[in-house]
Symmetry: C2
Subunit: 141 residues, 2 copies
DNA sequence: AGTCCTTTGCAACAGTGTTGCAAAATATTT
DNA sequence: AAATATTTTGCAACACTGTTGCAAAGGACT
């Protein structure tokens, strides 16, 4: 399978050794068109994955620039694939996130860039997160 | 004391009976120039407050429009006083929040309004949260 | 294949938030 | 002001989220 090979390559490109759990979890993210939380991943596979391993996998994926985390008001951090990578690997996403109040799906709106914010004197920005919540395209019937 | 009386009035104006814990917690928010998390409140008073009571108090304050909650990437929801209230009580804040990476202080930048975001077709916005993180005016030395 | 290093899985723990229920405090009525 | 009704508190217990340490298993490399 080409996808298998792609996932393998993706891990190695980011300096991660290719293990079964990592391939599985990265596969979940490629299959899903939405952001995933730890709890989602725990129940997604046919064989249940170890909780701790998932935490550590997500952590290393974020560190190596494969995933980015999305803050939320409901205290459940979600993760999504990083689509564009800078050369240095350390890459700050700058797109808007959308979270559906009805189905809890979280989307990366890659095409919408966060506008530049002018901070008061004395404040220096490092990262900016913009999360819009409401009703998503699937729930809008 | 006038402040005591103000706090009392504030509670009643929002349809909450005036109890000692509520007066204490509301007092904390008036004294602080920053957003407070549950953990902060737990250790602030001379007499320790019950954890559950704090949760319930914060909840009712948010429901009645006294406080608003601020999402964060570090999974610790913070709360801050609502400064302007609509007539109906149900009031959506629309200002930018700033969180310091060094001291973890969270500020409401009331003077900066969140720019309007144009969502893709099919998405309807209900609330928009914008959190900037970096170095605050106090840590900037 | 053998060695080295990383990752996994388990147990245990710490923090965050919720629920149920009896006792206490507040509000309301007389 | 006392009695009653209602709300809030504090405790115990629980569920969920996330972390750490350590021995065993798995990948990487020569």
């Amino acid at each position: 399978m080409t996808r298998e090979k792609d996932i393998n390559q993706m891990l190695k490109d980011h300096g991660l050794s290719s293990t079964e759990t990592r391939r599985t979890i990265l596969g979940f993210f490629h299959a899903a068109d939405k952001a995933l939380a730890h709890a989602d991943i725990e129940t997604m596979g046919t064989v249940p994955l170890d909780r701790v391993t998932i935490y550590r996998t997500l952590q290393s994926f974020v560190e190596k620039g494969l995933l980015h985390s999305i803050p939320s008001a409901d205290n459940a951090v979600r993760y999504a694939l990083c689509k564009d990578h800078c050369a240095d690997g350390h890459h700050h996403d700058n797109h808007v996130h959308f979270m559906c109040d009805q189905c809890s799906r979280t989307y990366c709106l890659d095409e919408i860039t966060i506008p530049r914010i002018k901070l008061p004197l004395g404040f220096t920005a490092c990262q900016t997160d913009l999360v819009v919540s409401g009703v998503c395209k699937t729930c809008q019937s």
